[in-house]
């Protein structure tokens, strides 16, 4: 399983473009059948947002700054969530995706504790959608049952679709052909998805930019989400 194949999916987020508008958050809800929260569960911290925009205030009025940062699963190469799962429900696949296998998950939630980015979410109950909201469900994405972990998949259903189409047409997946829902929606085009194994891909070039950093890099998690800091 450790053998790397052609692709190594990654994302670059230009924080200078990002406005914190949260279009990505809503797009993710629409694409990935995220369970709905309600006021009580939201107050309990149980709202599921595979991608969120962290905001911090720095300084005091009037010299106060706001920091926005979209945070999603960082798809770490050395993911802390992976070794601790006792049943291999989360693991690194050959394309560098940190996969969550819902039907294997027994719900120890250890991965959630060990994720320094806190991007893993738990299904506390079986999800419910009042009729006919379920008509909107994306048939390409599983409806997760209660008791299992879930998290950003880099829109694996879109990756699979594109790879399958490319295979049918006997060609490679083109750069930019795959866009996760968040990146597709982003009005400022702050998010770029692509293949790190292709040095010419947009994401490779952005990852190599002087502004490129990774979140909590010091932990050695080797995330595959690159943040391009603000500034020239």
């Amino acid at each position: 399983m450790s053998e790397r194949t052609k692709h190594r999916w990654a994302m670059a987020i230009d924080l200078d473009r990002c406005t914190g508008c949260q279009a990505c958050v809503a797009a993710c809800h629409a694409e990935n059948n995220l369970p709905l929260s309600d006021p009580e569960s939201a107050a309990k911290g149980r709202a599921v947002h595979w991608i969120r925009v962290d905001r911090y205030y720095e300084g005091e009025f009037p010299e106060v700054k706001v920091k926005h940062m979209p945070v999603l699963c960082q798809q770490c190469d050395e993911a802390p969530c992976e070794p601790v799962c006792p049943v291999y429900a989360t693991y690194q696949n050959a394309e560098g995706l940190n996969v969550q296998v819902y039907n294997r998950c027994v719900g120890t939630r250890y991965c959630g504790n060990n994720c320094p980015y806190s991007v893993r979410f738990f299904n506390w109950f079986d999800p419910v959608w009042p009729e006919p909201l379920q008509l909107q469900h994306n048939p390409d994405v599983s409806i997760r049952m209660g008791g299992v972990m879930e998290k950003c998949t880099f829109c694996i259903q879109r990756i699979k679709r594109a790879e399958n189409d490319a295979k049918d047409e006997k060609r490679d997946v083109a750069d930019g052909e795959i866009q996760p829902a968040c990146a597709q929606s982003c009005p400022a085009e702050a998010m770029v998805f692509g293949d790190l194994n292709d040095p010419e891909s947009k994401v490779s070039r952005m990852a190599g930019s002087g502004r490129s950093t990774r979140l909590l890099e010091e932990l050695g998690t080797k995330p595959k989400v690159f943040y391009l800091q603000r500034g020239a």
């Binding site: 230009d14 200078d16 473009r17 406005t19 914190g20 508008c21 949260q22 279009a23 958050v25 809503a26 797009a27 809800h29 629409a30 694409e31 709905l36 929260s37 309600d38 006021p39 939201a42 107050a43 709202a47 947002h49 969120r52 925009v53 962290d54 905001r55 911090y56 205030y57 720095e58 005091e60 009025f61 009037p62 106060v64 706001v66 926005h68 079986d126 009042p130 009729e131 006919p132 909201l133 379920q134 008509l135 909107q136 469900h137 994306n138 048939p139 409806i143 049952m145 829902a181 597709q184 929606s185 982003c186 009005p187 400022a188 085009e189 702050a190 391009l228 500034g231 020239a232």
Partner: protein, 644 residues
């Protein structure tokens, strides 16, 4: 045979009677049969549509695949598979969205499949405001409306969106046909006719009071440009200064935020303008906005030095004045004029004088002008939701959801003269009718000659030679190259004196709910507020100094009181709020607006004005219950007890 197959069989054979007791609902099998011609399982289709969550009218594309629902026919419940919209994306061919979409646009599909839609015409049965209705047949409802309209044409006020569209054109034609006054609007949407700002090619941008990355004009259009402005040009990074009375989403992205007093945008721009003209800014202007002369001079100087400066302001006249001083018209990175319109957008109107009110979908006077319906005799609503206004209506004749409708809308913010066109491609879920159709039915019953304006008829002037309507429908719109109109530049700015009081409340459009119209969408309810991270509610934002003097902490319940009224809300101590300026977003506080928004939070328009800040008193309510749900309660990177 294993159990999972068994359940499928069982639920099919016995119509789920036995299987439900085992909690296997999700295991149950929907009818296997899908008409091949309608939708093929596992295959996606894309259709164009238009987003109607704000006035910008972004062209979108909708992904259609199979979906399952429970239907009841002849007293029998069963599951069936239908074609359903799965997701909206921006239409790449659309000049406004350019293939992108904002959060509210993404959530529009939840409006379509909302569990609490009005499923057919309703007649009020209880007292007004009790929200008791009985379903009626369309004929009865039409007859009821005709009864109310007959002979009262001069008393009629039709409320619709401040836009130029096939819908507003049809309404204009209708009111003319029956002899009623022109349609008006009560919406807080930015009206059509704003100049276009070429943000993408500007080098130095001064924004004043316009939340163009959040709610102003077309956030999608300006965010697309903003990305280019910042990082789209190799070696060039645009510099951005925002003068605003609160830390809006736009201000939070600025390199420099200039806090100015609410209502002093024009005074600030007048001061900038004075410096640009080589004059001294008047002290009263500086006092009004609370910015030092030094800072005003520095910003004006920076504007002057920049090779491509740009001033974007909510106050169009003031923006044009300063841009004029910078010689900034019709050039890259500057301001462009407005294209000739296909019609005229309804003007703001006061509903208080109306006797018979017709309210188009999207208009909600009961929420945006609380108490204004008290003297209205008859209210007829076309809303697909039981919102604050519809709840008071005598008749509800529900419109289709926008995604089920045919439509054509002139895009007010667009680099070209353009109309977005959407055609219905999923069957209406319920017994609803397009407003145009309802009006035609009413007119017929009243024996008035009337035909609605079709999208094709509306957009026809823009069609190029040889361009077929089918092409337009397939692309989702039509764009025409046209000469933009001249910009009227004021020679001087009239600055009204700004009143200052110790504690004022200003309201603003919220990123999640816009002017409250998206509050019924659960995805928007659970979208954290950009400032406070609040979910399922909106708090009042108080600066730390004022909060500590009133002994208020984040999450406390507070009473906000003005001469107009009083509300009770959660407080959020906003680290970037201007001392003495309290802000609250419009969006929550609906008396009626489906299960997701009814009775949640408070409506700031009960105490304050949408346009003008108002003096308020704030006090903590001791012992109040409830908890403000926040996605990230911690708004600083360090905790209060971090560090030695």
């Amino acid at each position: 045979m294993d159990r999972r197959n068994f359940f499928k069989i069982l639920s099919t054979v016995s119509a789920g009677a036995a299987a439900t007791s085992c909690g296997t609902k999700r295991d149950a099998l929907a009818p296997l049969l899908v008409p091949e011609h309608e939708i093929v399982p596992g295959v996606e289709q894309w259709h164009v549509a238009v987003c109607r969550e704000c006035a910008a009218g972004c062209g979108v594309i909708a992904r259609v695949m199979e979906g399952e629902r429970t239907v009841e026919r002849n007293g029998q419940k069963f599951r069936e598979r239908v074609a359903a919209i799965k997701k909206l994306e921006g239409n790449p061919l659309d000049p406004v969205s350019g293939g992108r979409l904002c959060a509210r646009g993404q959530a529009a599909v939840q409006g379509l499949y909302h569990p609490d839609r009005v499923r057919g015409p309703l007649k009020r049965t209880g007292a007004r405001g009790e929200a008791k209705f009985a379903p009626v047949a369309w004929d009865e409802a039409i007859a009821g409306v005709v009864d109310k309209l007959k002979g009262r044409a001069s008393d009629v006020l039709f409320l619709t969106a401040p836009e130029v569209s096939a819908r507003t054109a049809s309404i204009a034609r209708f009111v003319q046909a029956i002899g009623a006054p022109a349609a008006r609007t009560c919406s807080l949407q930015q009206p059509a006719g704003l100049p276009r700002y070429d943000l993408a090619r500007a080098r130095y941008v001064l924004g004043v009071g316009a939340d163009f990355l959040g709610t102003w004009a077309s956030p999608v259009y300006y965010m697309r440009q903003y990305g280019e402005f910042r990082q789209g040009r190799p070696g060039v990074r645009g510099h951005f200064v925002q003068a605003d009375s609160r830390m809006s989403l736009t201000a939070s992205n600025a390199d420099e935020w200039v806090p100015i007093q609410p209502g002093s945008e024009r005074a600030f721009l007048a001061a900038i303008g004075a410096v640009l003209r080589g004059e001294n800014p008047k002290q009263e202007w500086l006092d009004a906005c609370g910015v030092t002369e030094k800072r005003v001079r520095r910003i004006a100087e920076e504007l002057k030095q920049s090779e491509a400066p740009l001033v974007i302001a909510a106050d169009t006249e003031a923006a044009l004045y300063v841009n004029g001083l910078l010689g900034n018209f019709n050039k890259p990175g500057g301001v462009f004029g407005v294209y000739a319109s296909l019609g005229s957008a309804p003007q703001k109107g006061d509903v208080r004088g109306a006797r018979v009110l017709l309210v188009d979908a999207g208009e909600n006077p009961a929420y945006l002008a609380p108490g204004s319906l008290a003297n209205v005799e008859t209210i007829i609503s076309f809303s697909p939701f039981l919102d604050d206004t519809a709840a008071q209506a005598d008749w509800i004749l529900p419109d289709h959801h926008a995604l089920e409708s045919d439509m054509a809308i002139e895009q007010p913010v667009s680099p070209k003269r353009s109309v977005a066109v959407g055609t219905a491609f999923v069957k209406p879920l319920y017994d609803t009718r397009a407003v145009e159709q309802t009006l035609a039915d009413v007119a017929k019953k009243m024996s008035v000659a009337y035909a609605p304006v079709t999208p094709e008829e509306f957009a026809k002037p823009l069609l190029a030679e040889g361009e077929s309507w089918e092409d337009v429908v397939r692309r989702g719109g039509v764009q025409a190259d046209a000469q933009a109109g001249e910009l009227k530049v004021p020679q001087a700015l009239q600055v009204q004196p700004v009143e200052r009081s110790p504690l004022v409340l200003q309201t603003y459009l919220s990123t999640q709910y816009y002017d409250g119209r998206a509050a019924n969408l659960p995805w928007m309810q659970e979208l954290p507020d950009p400032a406070s991270s609040a979910m399922w509610d909106l708090p009042v934002e108080i600066d730390p100094k004022t909060a500590s003097s009133l002994q208020i902490a984040s999450g406390d319940r507070v009473g906000v009181e003005s001469e107009r009224g009083a509300i009770e809300v959660f407080a959020y101590v906003h680290p970037a709020a201007i001392p003495g300026v309290v802000s609250m977003a419009i969006g929550e506080g609906h008396a009626h607006f489906t299960r997701y928004a009814s009775g949640r939070g408070a409506n700031p328009l009960t105490v304050a004005d949408a346009e003008k800040p108002m003096r308020v008193k704030i006090s903590r309510i001791a012992g109040a219950r409830g908890e403000l749900a926040q996605f990230s309660p911690q708004d600083r990177e360090q905790g209060p007890w971090g560090g030695r």
